[in-house]
């Protein structure tokens, strides 16, 4: 068959996903080397910094256990504060990874291959950070296991009508599935690293974790089926986790919380914030590891388009909440929303609106959504904005049904240190990942190279 005929049959070509004329060999080499090379001073410095900040978290938690949650700025009625804000913030960030891996996989979006590995890692670390908070925010930390349905001599059993219970299950199932999904995706790449290993220790450790992967046809068949099933299992979880988290608020009768829009609104916000974090980390990783050929402008632009879409969904939700508050005719709801925009936390509200609604509008312009500095700064602002969204929601508590108990919540040093410390934990885990595991899914990237397509020019069919 001649080349000319072949071209005529082909659909209009999309720009290549991977640049730099990569071959299977160069992909393996470039990505594996990142995990195989000697520890660099920069990495060590970054890890020291991140681990030191993580120590702040440990220290704050230690003091919290010793002294009790009175060290936080909480009061009645603002009995939930930064701990819950941080929990929702981190769980939200933990949405993008599985969305990229599972949902985009099911939709055959090939551009996911360059970013899914680190996005999933980010998901896991964000969920770990999130899980810290519900654990430490209870008054009697030593009995927090009563939230789990563990048969015991006290004849105690959790109340399954409580959204907190739903949370326990939703988040822990999400974490487990994400971990299994991520690990399954790692197996072929771990085997590649094992085969390239030069020291005995690496051979043994990687040998154990690659579970005897040989890369035979039968293994690939099983592998692909397993991956598809896991993607199918994970997809509804992406939607369910944040829906369930939103019920923590929506189920109670607090004005400003008791709305049916919460589940979709939270899911959109979670994807929005998750993508922003993937963007922030992706741009840094790409720069430091010289991965411009793998994480190309095309990838970044597509992520920006998703952020534009989800940002507008979030903006729509903000508007809809106001509309429904007015339309309901409920004086308390109306007050809650007017209070959000013009009350004591108006500053937080307008930070939220600026970061989450206005800033993503830049991405309508191709020039802006393909500019690395612009998208980097925008992604950081979106991260900030999404934290403030949760802050604004939780602070509805400051104006409850009883005006005499109204109060203003101000964080204490311990609130702030705990929050900053959670970033330390997140970056410590992320840096360890960058150092020891393949940052990009090598075998998946190979799958989207022209070389992998049997119909490509010079192919065998």
């Amino acid at each position: 068959m001649s080349t000319v005929e072949n071209k005529e049959q082909m659909p209009p070509a999309e720009p290549p996903l991977i640049l730099g004329n990569q071959t299977f060999g160069t992909v393996t080499d470039r990505i594996s080397k990142l995990a195989e090379r000697k520890t660099t001073l920069t990495w060590l410095a970054a890890l020291s910094l991140a681990a030191s900040v993580a120590l702040l978290l440990l220290g704050s938690i230690g003091y919290l256990f010793y002294e009790g949650i009175g060290i936080w700025g909480l009061n009645v009625p603002v009995a939930w504060g930064w701990a819950i804000v941080n929990f929702v913030f981190w769980v939200g960030i933990g949405h993008a990874g599985t969305l990229i891996s599972a949902i985009l996989f099911l939709f055959r979006q090939k551009w996911r291959t360059s970013i899914n590995r680190f996005a999933e890692a980010m998901t896991l670390f964000a969920v770990i950070c999130a899980l810290v908070f519900p654990g430490i925010h209870v008054g009697r930390i030593w009995v927090v296991y009563w939230m789990f349905p563990l048969p015991n001599q006290m004849d105690m059993w959790p109340n399954f009508r409580s959204p907190l219970l739903w949370d326990v299950f939703a988040v822990s199932i999400y974490f487990t599935c994400s971990l299994v999904f991520w690990y399954t995706g790692l197996i072929p790449d771990l085997a590649t690293l094992r085969d390239r290993a030069t020291t005995k220790i690496r051979k043994i450790v990687l040998g154990i974790f690659s579970l005897g992967w040989r890369g035979g046809n039968r293994q690939w068949k099983h592998y692909e089926l397993a991956y598809l099933i896991l993607a199918g299992v994970s997809t509804p979880l992406v939607l369910s986790v944040h829906s369930v988290v939103s019920t923590d608020f929506a189920v109670s009768v607090v004005p400003g919380w008791h709305t049916t829009i919460f589940p979709p609104y939270f899911v959109a916000g979670a994807i929005f914030s998750g993508f922003a974090m993937v963007m922030t980390l992706g741009i840094i990783t790409r720069k430091v590891f010289h991965l411009e050929d793998f994480i190309t402008n095309q990838h970044l632009e597509k992520m920006n388009k998703i952020m534009l879409l989800t940002g507008m969904m979030v903006g729509y939700s903000y508007a809809c909440e106001f509309f429904i508050a007015w339309y309901s005719g409920n004086a308390y709801e109306q007050f809650a929303f007017i209070n959000r925009a013009f009350g004591p936390y108006a500053w937080a509200y307008w930070i939220m609106i600026s970061c989450n609604v206005l800033i993503p509008q830049m991405f309508w312009f191709r020039k802006l959504r393909t500019s690395i500095p612009v998208m980097f700064v925008a992604s950081i602002f979106i991260n900030i904005g999404m934290w403030f969204e949760r802050f604004v929601i939780v602070m509805s508590l400051a104006r409850d049904y009883l005006p005499s108990s109204w109060d203003y919540y101000s964080p204490t040093t311990w609130d702030v240190l705990t929050f900053i410390g959670s970033f330390g934990l997140f970056f410590t885990l992320f840096l360890l990942f960058l150092r020891f595991l393949p940052v990009v899914a090598m075998f998946e990237v190979k799958g989207v190279l022209p070389e992998a397509d049997p119909h490509h020019k010079g192919g065998s069919h």
Binding site: G68, V76, V138, N159, S162, L164, S252, A331, L402
Partner: protein
């Protein structure tokens, strides 16, 4: 087992409490509530009484009588003293089981522009409403707070409370408080008959279930000199509360929320 543990404990508790002294009917009728008077009565009364039982406990508070009583705060004093409620001396840590609000705050949606100033800015004694449909019970992850089936009291077990504070948010009446710090150092006059709480748990009014078990009316009811608080069984057509509800127009707090409070107010 023919006797369930809870029932056994309840019986045991009632017996023990009864033997310990069927405290304070007298004390609370006295002019001023002081720890000494409370102790005296506790020590003096040793006759066990039959527990007070009802199918649906309810309270009627006559705000007209409360208004006439002026600055009186006996109900709160008696309740907080009886239940070892700590006084931290600052609003951030404040713990309250029963307290006075202004009518304007407690019944905001039920007033109108021509309501007389006396009523509007007059007192409204507020406490846990022991709702028929309690939003706090629904959200408690461990079942530390529950609606007692036999008499409708929204109970609170501090030993089961893990301190997640969800009930504090869920309660639209602000009836729940949290022990941000160790309360034991802030109890001025410790009453050994009633347990103290630990740091990190939620607490609230329980309609004096421990006193009912000893055959006594709630502390606030007995302490109110103006007789503004009436307590009784809603299911009993001859009870005092039913008579009051029959004779007066009464309102409840936040009826629109569907919680069905069991504390009624005569305005």
């Amino acid at each position: 087992m023919s006797v369930h543990r809870r029932k056994f404990l309840k019986l045991a508790g009632i017996t023990a409490l009864g033997l310990a002294g069927g405290a304070p009917a007298k004390i609370l009728a006295e002019d001023s509530i002081t720890p000494d008077s409370l102790k005296e009565v506790t020590e003096a009364t040793a006759t066990p009484k039959a527990p007070l039982v009802a199918r649906r406990w309810a309270m009627v508070i006559d705000l007209t009588k409360c208004r006439e009583a002026g600055d009186c705060n006996d109900c709160q004093k008696a309740c907080h003293l009886t239940h070892n409620v700590p006084d931290f001396g600052n609003p951030k840590d404040e713990i309250k089981w029963i307290w006075k609000e202004s009518f304007h705050h407690a019944f905001h949606e039920q007033e109108h522009e021509f309501l007389d100033e006396k009523t509007k800015h007059g007192p409204a004694v507020v406490l846990c409403n022991h709702c028929d449909n309690p939003p706090c019970v629904r959200v408690c992850p461990t079942g530390a707070t529950w609606k007692r089936e036999n008499d409708g009291i929204v109970m609170m077990d501090w030993h089961r409370c893990i301190g997640c504070r969800y009930c504090v948010l869920a309660c639209p009446y602000g009836s729940r408080s949290f022990n941000w710090r160790n309360p034991r150092e802030f109890i001025k006059d410790l009453q050994p008959e009633f347990p103290t709480r630990t740091r990190g748990v939620v607490e609230k009014c329980t309609f004096c279930d421990e006193r009912l078990a000893r055959g006594q009316m709630p502390a606030c009811v007995e302490a109110c000199k103006a007789k503004a608080i009436t307590f009784g069984d809603l299911e009993d057509p001859n009870s005092e509360v039913r008579t009051l509800l029959h004779e007066h127009f009464t309102i409840r707090r936040k009826p629109g929320l569907g919680t069905q409070p069991e504390v009624y107010y005569i305005v």
